[in-house]
């Protein structure tokens, strides 16, 4: 539909001005060669009237420009004329978009790297935003939530089998109790590789001092040395943190797992907190303590040696590669 208005606008002028010579030229050459219009029409499979209209440049009797250009080309070829020269006087069938813009082939961007920076940047911005949210918004909410929920927070100091650490400020008892009690949740997997993220947000999520468990000292850092350093920055936030009194119940179980093969391990304490979760390598050793009942899942029971409070726990009933699920009371 767009073609028609365009052609009616542009062609009458073009026809009268530019193509006036084309028809005359064709007729002249044809007459010179002694060919009749009927013969031309037969050669080109066109009507004789079309040939006559073409020679008279009578657009009203001719179809759309694309056809006319084709006819002129064929006619010129038949007469041995330079078709391009004649066609140059006609408007192209579709005038505007015949332009071709080239692009240098060497300007090709590497496919892989082309979109990388934006992806990366977007991801980074998102991460920074999330981190900001975690640091500034969540702690406030958490504090409000927990202090409202546990008004008796400071009474949780009863789990004092380990003497409170010397802390410069705040009430030592509640801190000590609190730190120990929250311990299983945060640093539960007393994995030799400490979680790298934990020291990053000290003031809000109090990073408790190292696992207050008995020997062997080789694995966990010495309790006596680290507390001042570890707890000093922690101090301001401590009083608000809940003591989670539920944990203060019965005696904790000490588990020791030695892996002879790779295995998936999941251990949850009574409150459902994960003490140890993940796929662990053969040869590694893990010590954890938690309040029973402990729900234990060993992905490869045959590859794990489990000791509970120093007593070996029999896993002989499981085949190699089978999953062991049990609860330690």
């Amino acid at each position: 539909m767009t073609e028609t208005p365009e052609s009616t606008e542009s062609e009458p002028t073009a026809t009268t001005a530019d193509t006036a010579g084309v028809g005359a030229r064709l007729r002249e050459v044809r007459e010179h060669k002694g060919i009749s219009p009927a013969e031309v029409a037969a050669q080109l499979h066109l009507n004789e009237q079309t040939i006559v209209a073409l020679e008279q440049d009578d657009r009203s009797r001719l179809p759309a420009p694309i056809y006319v250009r084709g006819y002129v080309r064929a006619y010129a070829r038949l007469l041995g004329l330079d078709e391009e020269e004649l066609l140059a006087r006609y408007q192209p069938a579709e005038s505007p978009e015949l332009r071709t813009v080239g692009m240098p082939p060497q300007a090709q961007p590497a496919l892989r790297s082309a979109r990388m920076p934006w992806r990366l940047l977007g991801t980074l911005v998102l991460l920074v935003a999330l981190a900001g949210l975690a640091v500034f918004v969540l702690p406030g909410l958490w504090e409000r939530f927990t202090t409202a929920g546990d008004p008796e927070a400071s009474t949780a100091g009863e789990v004092s089998d380990l003497e409170p650490l010397p802390v410069p400020s705040g009430s030592p008892r509640s801190e000590a109790g609190d730190s120990r009690v929250r311990l299983p949740a945060l640093t539960a997997p007393s994995d030799p590789r400490p979680a790298p993220g934990t020291p990053g947000r000290p003031e809000s999520m109090p990073e408790p001092p190292p696992v207050p468990e008995p020997p062997p000292a080789s694995e966990s850092p010495p309790v006596a040395e680290s507390p001042p350093a570890a707890s000093a920055p922690v101090a301001p936030a401590r009083p608000e943190v809940p003591p989670a009194p539920a944990e203060a119940g019965p005696q904790q179980l000490q588990l020791r797992l030695q892996l002879s093969q790779d295995s998936w391990i999941s251990i949850r304490n009574a409150a459902g907190e994960r003490l140890l979760v993940g796929l662990y390598q053969a040869g590694s050793e893990h010590r954890i303590s938690g309040r029973p009942p402990l729900q234990v899942v060993l992905g490869n029971a045959a590859g794990v040696e489990l000791t509970v409070d120093g007593e070996p726990y029999s896993l002989s009933g499981y085949d190699p590669g089978s999953v062991a699920r049990f609860t330690l009371e």
Partner: protein
């Protein structure tokens, strides 16, 4: 996400893509044809089979590698017979081309894209094309049938209540259609195109000269001395290929009459498709076609005297469109413009 895409879309231009077997062309509104490159992708796979794959080159560079690659690079054509043969590679190629068109932009391009599909393609093939364009970053993908786009691009009066016949001969397929009132009345597609011409030349040379030539050489022969109708002058070309008996490269001379003979089989396939179309066309429209003629578009319409052959075989006037290679892409661009001007109901576009 949709809103965001729309926002980014302000900074992207609408594209019309002629995703062809041999060449991919991209038309940008207001800028014309901005990209015309072979649909070839070279893939590098280091460290043996199963190693990581990466794109070594796309387009012209990759085409130069066709048939000349070492073991760790494969130059492939991800489209076959006008439809996608390798989905992932097509997506990568489209992505590359879309980025190339939007080079130097601040935002990641997210254009509206109109892609031309062969009219004989199945639902599955159309969907593959749509998804691969969407995967390459298109915000919206529309499909248009190739002969329709070709007719618009050629400047045919598709909106009139009279029949126009267009024959689009591409790399993989030839499409013939009769169009009236912005719609396709009859269309058919045969999987014969420039590629089949090349194959025919390769086979001919092997049979008659006992010599093996590659696809690129066959294409060069077709461009330089190929013709569809016996002409007055006989052109000759010296070619080199591997002699099958001796096993060493030998050079020999081919002339245009031999190539004409070689091309007989694929050409007769196209001619019979056109004849069938004429048979199937309703008589009124057939009369219109007979009066004005058939329009040839597509890269293979540039084969010398192809219009002459069709003219003699059908007895109808045959006209080659201006710049036939870009007709489809230009027509797609026009369709996009018309869609904006009057809403999406001008053509049967698949959104």
């Amino acid at each position: 996400m949709l809103g965001f895409k729309r926002l980014v879309g302000i900074f992207s231009e609408d594209l019309s893509i002629d995703l062809g077997t041999a060449n991919t062309l991209i038309y940008v509104r207001g800028r014309g044809i901005v990209l015309n490159e072979p649909s070839v992708v070279a893939i590098r796979q280091d460290r043996g089979p199963g190693g990581p794959k990466s794109i070594a080159a796309v387009g012209i560079e990759a085409k130069r590698m066709l048939g000349r690659t070492p073991g760790n690079i494969t130059a492939i054509r991800p489209l076959k017979d006008g439809v996608i043969a390798d989905f992932t590679v097509t997506e990568k190629m489209l992505q590359h081309f879309i980025h190339k068109v939007h080079e130097g932009r601040f935002f990641r391009p997210s254009p509206r894209v109109l892609i031309c599909v062969p009219c004989g393609s199945t639902q599955v093939e159309r969907r593959a094309i749509k998804e691969s364009a969407a995967g390459a970053g298109a915000r919206e993908v529309y499909l248009i049938e190739e002969p329709m786009a070709a007719a618009i691009g050629a400047g045919m009066p598709v909106d009139e209540a009279s029949g126009s016949m267009v024959l689009d001969i591409g790399g993989g397929t030839s499409e013939v259609a009769v169009i009236s009132l912005n719609g396709i009345v009859y269309s058919s597609s045969v999987r014969i195109g420039g590629d089949r011409f090349d194959e025919a030349i390769i086979n001919y040379v092997r049979r008659n000269y006992g010599t093996l030539i590659g696809e690129s050489t066959a294409e060069r022969i077709k461009h330089e001395i190929g013709s569809a109708y016996p002409g007055n002058e006989v052109k000759e070309l010296e070619v080199k290929g591997r002699n099958l008996a001796q096993g060493v490269p030998r050079s020999f001379t081919l002339n245009s009459n031999e190539i004409l003979e070689a091309l007989q089989e694929p050409l007769s396939g196209i001619v019979s498709a056109v004849k069938t179309a004429l048979e199937q066309t309703p008589p009124e429209l057939g009369a219109d076609v007979a009066e004005r003629g058939i329009v040839l578009t597509g890269g293979s319409a540039l084969l010398r005297d192809l219009d002459r052959l069709l003219m003699e075989e059908t007895g109808l006037p045959v006209v080659v469109a201006d710049d036939p290679l870009t007709c489809v892409a230009r027509g797609g661009g026009r369709a996009l413009e018309m869609m904006d001007e009057r809403g999406g109901d001008v053509f049967s576009l698949e959104g």
